[in-house]
Structures are given as C-alpha cells and as structure tokens.
Symmetry: C2
Subunit: 516 residues, 2 copies
C-alpha cells in the first residue's frame, strides 16, 4: 500500500506542477503579455491542459485506486460520496483518506471528459477572454457572441459528458463547489432573495441618503498603489511569497505553494474599485498561503470549495474592510495620501460613503446588500443557458429584463450589463453562485470568530490583524481541501450553512446606518 | 513521405510550444517572481525540460528520420554534416531539408543525454542563478562555489555524453555555435588578440584622454526608461509583439513567435548601462521577430547561431548606436531628458565620451576595443574548466591573473571579477566565444550593408532606420536557422568569416577619435 500511495503522490505532484505552470501562463496573459501573443498562448495553454488531463486520467491512477478498493464505477453518483468503509484505504490516516477522495474525484471527473474537449476549452477560452475585453471596450455584445457561442457549446458538452441525475447545471457547479447541488443553491437563494428584497425596500424607503460624491473625486493611481501596499502589509500578506499587479479583472492565482499573486484594478475616479478589490484578493491570497506545509504541492492544497474561498475574501473586504473600526485605523493614512479628494470628509462620512446602499449596475462595485441580487441574476441566466432554455444571442435582453426585475434598473449598454464579468469568456459556468455562498459562509464564520475573539473590534481598530489571521489559519486555511465545505462549516461554526447569519449581519449594520 | 514529414512537424511544434513555456517561466523568474518561489520554479522548469527531452528523443522521431534515409549512427561526427545526398529526403525543397537537418541534429544531441542529466541541469541551474545573485551582492565567490561545482560536474558530464573527437569543449560550443570547433575559435581569437593588443597599446600611448565623467552624473531611472522606449520605437521594435522590463542581467527571450521580450538594467549613476543595454537587446529582439512566417513555431525559428545572433545586437548597439550620426539624431532628445547631467556637454563630447577606450573590469560596460579581450579571458578559463585543467575553487585567482595578463588590471573583488556574468550559473559553458564571433560577424555584415546602402550614415543621422532593418530582415533575419552560420556569412558578405573587418572598423573609428 505504501508504494501504491507513493506513486499516486508522484503523479499528483506532476499534475500540481503543471497546473502551476498553467497559472503562470495565465497570470502573464492577464498582466504583461503583449497583445499579439494571444494565439500562441492559447496553444500553449491547450497543450499544458492536455498534459494535465493525460496524467489525471492515466490508467496508472485507475489501477492503483482500484487496488485500494476505491469504487470507480461510471455513474455520476460515484463521484459524490466519501470513501466507503469497505475500501482498503479506509484504515489510512485522515489526510491520506482525503488525498484519495480528492484524487479519485478528479480522476472520475476527468475520465469522463474527452481530451479533445479539454484542450479545445483551454484554447477557445484563451481566445474568449481577449474577445470579451474587446467587446467590453466597444460596449458591444455582438463582438463577443460568436466566441461565447463556441464556449457555451463546449460547456454544455462538458455537462453531458460528466453526467447528472437532476439538473445539467449540477456537474458544472460541482467543479467549483464540490458535493453541492443546484436544487440546494436554489433553496438557499430563495430565502436570501426574499430577505434582501425586504431589506433593500426598507433602506430605500427610509428616505435617508448617504453622500458618496467624494468617492468619485480624483484619486491618483500611484497613491492608490501605495495605499494597497500599506494595507496588504498591515493585514499580513507576505510579499516574499506573492505580488500585487494590475489587470482588467482582478484575480488571485497560485503559481506555486510559495507563489500566490494578486491583481487589482485602479480607477482614478472611483476609490472603491482599487482598495476594496485589493483587500478582497488579499483574502483569497491569505487562504492559499495558509495551507499546512504537509499539504502543499498536493491536490489538497486548494480551498475546500470556491464558496469557502470567497468567504475568506469577503471577510477581509466587507466584514473587516468595510467596518467602522477598520477605517478608524486607516482613515488617517487615507487622508494623508489623498488630502485633496478627502477635503471636508470625516471618518463617519467616509464609513457611510463606502457603505451606501443603492441598486446599481456593476456587480463588483455593488454594496453588501444588493450584491447578492447580482449573483442570483447570473445564476438564473447561466442555469437557463446550460439547460438550453436560453440562447446566447438572447442573453443581453434576458440580462436587462432580470436586472429590472431584481434591481429595478436597466443597463444603458452591454458593458454595464451582460459584458461586465469575465467568467463566461473563460468557460466558468457554475462559478457565480459561489460568490453568494461565500457571503453566507463569511457571515457565519465571522460570528464564530467574534465569539472566540470578543475584543475583535478593538483589534481591528488598532490595525492589529495577527490574531484574526491566526484564527483563520487554524480553523480554515491550514486544512486546504482536506475537509469538505459542509463539514468544515459545521466544524468551525457548530451548524450547517444558515442564511440567517448574513441577513442578521446586514440588518444590524445597515439598520444602524439608515436608522431603520 | 508527406505523412512522415507532417508527423515530425507536429512533434516539433509541441517541442517549440514547451520551449516557449519554459521561456515564460524563466522570464518570470528573472523579472517578477517572488523570492520564495524559487525552489518550486526550479522543479517546474525541470519538469518542462524533461517533457521537451522526451519528445526530442522519442523513438517516433528516430523511426521517421531513418525512414527518410537520414543516418543516425552514434558517432559524434554524425551530428555534424548536412544531409547526405543518398537520403530520400535530399530531393525535398530547401526549407524541408533544413528542417530535417536541424531536427536530426537536436535528436542526435538529445539522445546522448540521459533524461536525469537534463532535468538535473534545469533544476540546479535555476538554483545556481539565485545563488549567483546572492554571491554577487555579497561580493563573495565562496557563496557560489558549491553550486557552481555541481553545475560544472553536470556540464563535464554533458560534454562526455555528447562526445567529441578533438576537445571536450567542442560539443558545448556546438550547442551555441553549431558546426564550429574549438580549434577554429582559437585560431580566430589568436589573430584578434594580437590586433587588439596592438591597437589598445597605440590608444593608451597616444596620450589623449577622453572626458567620461559626465556619464556618471545623476540620470533618473524613470527618464532612462523613457529614453529606452523612445529609441526602441524609433528603431522599429514592435511593442505589440514584445515588452521591455528590467532584470539583474539583461536578456532577450522568445515566449512565442509573436512574443519576444527584452530586459534591461538601469543604473542611475551610469548612463551607458541602460541605453546601450536596451539597444543591444533590441538587436536580438529584431532578429527573433524577423523570422519568416513560414518558419515560425518550428525548430528553424531561431538564429543561425548565437554568433550570428550577437552580430545583430552588436550592430545596433555599437556600429549604429555608438556612431556619430546616431547621436546627431538622438542627442537633442537626450539633452531634453537629462538637462542637468548633460549641462556643458556637446554632441562631440558625448560621442567621444561613450566611445572612450580604457581597459576596465566589467565586460558589459567595456568599450568596443577591449571588449573582445574580456571574451578571450572567459573562453580560456572555461575551456580549462571543462577540460579539468582548472578547478572551480581556483577560478577567482585564475580570473585575476588572466585579467592582469590581458587587460593589465586586477579586480578588487569577486563581484567585479569572476562573479560578474550570469552564464556559468546557468550552465552556459561554450557560450562566451559567440560574443566575440558576433562582433566579427557584425563588422563584416556592416561592410556589406554600407556597400548596398551608401547613404547609410545619412539615414542614421535622420533617425530613419526602416531601410537598414529591411536589409537585415531580407539578408539575415527571415532565414532563421535555415542557413548555417558559415554559409550565411558567405551569402551576405561574399566571403568567410574574416577578422580583418572588425579590426579595420576599430582602427578607423578609434584612430580618428584618438588621432593615431
């Protein structure tokens, strides 16, 4: 059994190295690559993805998993459950069992995807991302529609190849949020939507308006870079194992277990974009960098799920970064960097300004209350696209309709509507719900953190984040993907995912701001 | 035969893609990678080099080359000659014959190297480069000696594996300067050394001193960046297919046929480093970007040899970039960017200043006359190391002795002596001679260019470089590696490599400056 395990670890290690190489190519593509290099970069990525696929699906893995008594039958349900008690491997320590669980999960998923499909997806999405940038710049969905059509075709094929018992969206969602089903998301989102609609109506109905005009004054980007850098240093992001660069769509990526890079986007005429984007990505980065050394470089060196991942970025961006104590500490720094733009603005005015609630068009700039409505919009559209109930050409109109229904406003052009997010251009259907799940997990984890660390607000107000980060590392980060999301949630908070935490947090915070 | 060729092209294409991926990882390592990522990056590079090696040596290539009648016997001489007339492939068009010649050259070389050696070299040199940076910063060879010892061991093993008839340095040189022998380099260098020693003695004996003090005034690096950018634009470097970044040791690398990147190094207290480094790398970049579209992405999309490659960088850096007409055009730009540093300096003073001849310690900052003596120094040392006549531990002392002998000066520390160049840390033994060969080719090509374009100086003086670049593309760049270096030289200049062109050029230029 020793040898079998060791060989599986060797193959996995090669897969992880190749994934890191793909991340390096992707990071470069989004940050520094010259424009004409796109075509070949797509070929390079396709080649690397093909090599990864070869290894993930090798007969060598299958034979060894079978030898360990792990069931590899071909039904879609087979990828779901944990290791059966009957398996020879069930006597192994927890970390090894988790390793085999994830390895077989990846193996079973990958085996169902033809190599051609994997390399075509890599190639077409590399092109798709550039087409999306061009279309967004031109504010014209038509420039993107053709390539998106190709990608949707491949995504639908992926769903069919992976198989499903209930909904064609299930196997796509499962890529990002392992073990979760579409029906469960629908159930959670239903409660969330009602609660948010009610809260939004009360806020709008309060008649109170928060002044946000100062946020669109001039904030020189070099000063914003300096601000980002100082905040990351204070939070505890390790620049010897990472970087901060700029890209059209901010992201965090792991090029190695000691190489986790963030990007941000700076807008001279809107402060929030840069600073909250930076803090958000930092939350992702801290999670990646906090994996226990014993798990590094393995299939377990990843977040438990994207929902859990997003909970970490949201905690830093919103629950900490948009809190009053956070700005008690950083507002003087901010005033020093932007004396002109913040002329006449005091701490309380700033706090309220960055927390103003108003239905708006751009998801990444939305307030904490209406943000999740943006997610519900995307979830419903992409579910329909995957299920062939909605065609690509009809997306802009469907988007605008849903926007009116959920947010009460209609985008004036595609750039502020259907073209605003990068995800579909990258083939990432099934990804959006994890953002809202992240907000739910974040609020639930934060309640547990506050229970364990009653002086939480005092620490944040002092700019002293080490104990918070330590708590996150101990409870969440170090486990990587060893513990599945649902179990991790119970372990950290004592209960299953419960939307009441987020709704309670939002009602408390915004009730105070809006006097309701 | 069609099918056979097509399959060989497919394999080659994958090799080229993987080489470009390795270049991307390497470029990142030298520019933006966070320091702690080094260990894993070394593993990633080792993995990719192993994958390249697998493909270069696959039985599939061997079988197909044999089917085309290409001799694959195992003697070292087998890698030398062109395709024999007897081969079935000899009836193919020139480009296909050249493709098979290079493919079999690579196949025969790679087959002789065990996979372990290839991956170890990749891993150890990635570490070596970082150790070199550290030792150089600390000015202490001891910090680098251990890792260099490991690398030298692997390099000697490489030489033995590849095999040789005359000198163990032959197969290493052949990697960079295909088909050339150590004995030939020795012969050429002998003539060069005598001519240079004589010229240097006359210059020093002239008693005339050129004022260079202004070059070490303060030149703000952001202005130097601006200067580099403007010069590259004027020369015709295509920023949609490349970039300019900064690194400890400037280099040019191809991440794809439409992605050729340059780096430079900026020194606030010495103008020459940045601007001439930038122009030098641009010369390499123009060569890479000028390959004919039909050769792109194949084994032929490379310079004919590193000597030919260096001839292109040297042409731009020295024959054009250090010429009087070049600065007739750019001096006003320079004055605009650095009004303080250039206070009281006129065009003629500047021209003489950047062309001052004086034996000095740092190769990359050496003048055109003494530069080649630096190369001869390295060539003699590394030849002795490879032949086991000189040990790693004795390198600093041997360096200092040779420096006294050739240049008449001794470095005060290792950073200005044996540690100044990156090459050995990367395992690149056999590389240095190509720099001097490049100077020789450059002068010989430039004479041909002047014959074809009699108004050359007028064009340069107007900052009008399009016709020069066109000539280079037509005569040299577009051919890539299709024509071997020696043949290319005859084709462009009508004669074999002849050191007299360089010596004649140097005597003319510096005779005028020094009045001798």
């Amino acid at each position: 059994m020793e040898d079998t395990l060791q060989r599986l670890h060797e193959i996995d290690r090669e897969v992880q190295h190749l994934s890191h190489v793909a991340s390096a190519l992707h990071w470069d593509q989004e940050t520094y690559m010259p424009p004409e290099a796109l075509g070949e970069r797509a070929e390079q990525l396709a080649l690397i993805q093909g090599l990864i696929h070869d290894r993930q699906t090798s007969a060598e893995i299958g034979d060894r998993l079978a030898a360990l008594g792990i069931p590899l039958d071909s039904g879609p349900a087979a990828v779901r459950g944990p290791l059966p008690e009957s398996a020879r491997a069930s006597a192994l320590p927890g970390a090894q069992r988790a390793f085999l669980r994830e390895l077989s999960r990846v193996y079973l998923r990958a085996r169902r995807l033809p190599r051609r499909l994997v390399t075509e997806l890599a190639r077409e999405t590399a092109i798709g991302q550039k087409k999306w940038v061009q279309a967004r710049e031109a504010r014209d969905f038509c420039l993107f529609a053709g390539q998106l059509g190709i990608i949707v075709g491949l995504v639908r094929e992926t769903s069919e190849c992976l198989g499903y018992a209930e909904h064609p969206y299930d196997p796509l969602l499962d890529e990002y949020e392992p073990w979760m089903k579409t029906a469960e998301v629908e159930r959670v989102f239903r409660g969330l939507r009602e609660g948010l609609a009610e809260l939004t109506a009360r806020i709008v109905g309060s008649g109170r308006r928060v002044d946000t005009r100062f946020l669109t004054r001039r904030f020189p980007v070099d000063r914003q870079r300096e601000l980002s850098r100082r905040v990351l240093d204070a939070i505890g992001y390790d620049f010897t194992r990472g970087r901060l660069d700029e890209s059209v769509h901010p992201f965090t990526t792991r090029l190695g277990s000691c190489d986790v890079r963030l990007t941000t986007r700076l807008n001279e005429r809107f402060l929030n974009t840069g600073i909250f984007g930076t803090i958000h990505e930092c939350g992702h980065g801290l999670y990646e960098l906090g994996t226990a050394p014993s798990l590094r470089g393995t299939v377990l060196a990843e977040g438990a799920s994207l929902g859990i991942h997003e909970s970490q970025s949201r905690t830093w961006e919103n629950l900490i970064g948009r809190s009053r104590p956070f700005w008690e500490h950083f507002f003087p720094v901010l005033r020093g960097l932007f004396p002109d733009a913040l002329e006449g603005v005091d701490l309380e005015g700033f706090y309220r300004g960055v927390n103003a609630v108003e239905p708006s068009l751009i998801r990444v700039e939305a307030d904490e209350v209406t943000y999740n409505l943006h997610i519900i919009l995307r979830f419903e559209l992409e579910k329909a696209v995957v299920a062939r109930e909605l065609q690509v050409a009809d997306l802009p109109e469907a988007w605008n309709e849903k926007s009116r229904e959920l947010l009460g406003i209609v985008p004036p052009d595609d750039a502020q509507g259907v073209l605003q997010d990068i995800h579909w251009s990258g083939g990432a259907f099934g990804y959006f719900p994890t953002y809202a799940l992240g907000n739910l997990y974040a609020a639930q984890f934060f309640a547990a953190l506050r229970r364990d660390l009653p002086e939480l607000d005092t620490l944040i107000g002092r700019g002293s984040f080490a104990e918070i980060l330590e708590w996150q590392r101990d409870r969440i980060h170090r486990h990587g993907r060893q513990i599945p999301a649902a179990e991790l949630c119970r372990q950290v908070t004592g209960e299953s995912l419960a939307p009441e935490h987020l709704l309670g947090y939002l009602r408390g915070k915004f009730g105070e701001i809006y006097g309701i």
